[in-house]
Symmetry: C2
């Protein structure tokens, strides 16, 4: 049994080194600016497909980090993604995190409007939060609502688009990427079928850690 006795921070550092080595061995060229995000998603999934799957709009990481450093609201489409976002890093930057999927008013509104909770929650969030970052790891519907709202003039700080699945998911991610790029909104998306709450949270965390490291270089040993 080859068990390595490490502190969590050491395990993470070792994992990231292994991921970097394997990416190099596979001949994958990751742009330096996207490396923290790509490696953290692979760290979260052990799935090297994400070396090819992740789409970044122009300068997406720098633009997202810039927003996070100012302390913005971060909205997720599932409580699972919400629970995966690092509260420590978010609070450190003055960011707050929100998910409305299980809010009693949203459940009531979805019933009244005969729509899904994902639709009602996302509609509410785009009305209640200005200049917020949106991270979608579950419901393609949430991305369609977001795309519609952006086309109607809503300007989120950024969009992380990573729902997983077999129905409407590929289409939802293609739609949000094209709408975000048309309206110059930074977007990071896991293209294709793959993704999930852990992937959405991993992308947000990579951005939060990068932003926090810029504020306090080396202070927390993040990344």
């Amino acid at each position: 049994m080859n068990i390595i006795h490490f502190r969590p921070a050491d395990i993470e550092r070792t994992s990231m080194r292994i991921i970097g080595e394997e990416l190099a061995r596979m001949g994958k060229q990751i742009k330096k600016e996207n490396e923290a995000v790509v490696k953290r998603v692979i760290h979260t999934t052990a799935d090297f497909d994400y070396a090819d799957n992740l789409h970044f709009s122009r300068a997406a990481v720098a633009l997202c980090v810039e927003k996070l450093r100012r302390g913005i609201d971060i909205i997720t489409d599932s409580n699972m993604a919400l629970s995966g976002v690092s509260k420590t890093a978010a609070q450190h930057l003055g960011c707050t995190t929100h998910c409305y999927m299980a809010h009693p008013d949203i459940i009531k509104k979805a019933k009244e409007d005969n729509t899904t909770r994902a639709t009602a929650a996302m509609q509410y969030a785009t009305e209640a939060h200005f200049d917020a970052g949106f991270a979608v790891g579950n419901a393609p519907t949430a991305l369609f609502v977001l795309a519609e709202r952006i086309e109607a003039g809503f300007l989120p700080a950024f969009v992380v688009a990573a729902p997983v699945g077999f129905v409407n998911v590929v289409e939802a991610k293609e739609k949000i990427v094209s709408v975000c790029e048309a309206f110059h909104i930074p977007v990071i998306a896991a293209m294709g079928r793959k993704g999930g709450s852990t992937v959405a949270a991993a992308i947000v965390n990579a951005l939060l850690y990068t932003a926090a490291d810029m504020l306090d270089p080396g202070a927390r040993g993040w990344n």
Copy 2:
């Protein structure tokens, strides 16, 4: 744009049909008794590697379902996995769900003992819960603690072993599987590096839905 307008239950049914068709096309033979679990994990990840990665001890699904039908405690090693387990299905069966990772007493105890929160939380859970099901989607340490406790006489109802990662993860899953099988404890494990909180929750949900469907066939349209 090929968007299908479906209710969530229809989307799930369509997804499961697509997964079944693709498994057949890939020539993957999934044992009938494991199908609900395998398909739900693929549904959660869009990763067909799980058709090969999932290990089931003898009659694991039937034995786990039997326990869940009696209404047991389910312990997870992360709040993300906890948040992914269906509370509706759990409550329907009289099962309760617990995670101690963020409990103030556990954080204090981990500091006092100079250990990790995963270790302290799992030690506490094995002392506080008798005949509970354990679902581990994050910390290999949690599996090592569980294996140690089982070797010392602790008898969990079942173990779901699905942490993800590059350090100690493969070893932890091999260890827990061999210990569980030696002590005749049902175990379902995502072998290799892959897994995660969503995978652990998906396995538990597949078991919960199967158990609930046996109580009320067709009542909820689960699965």
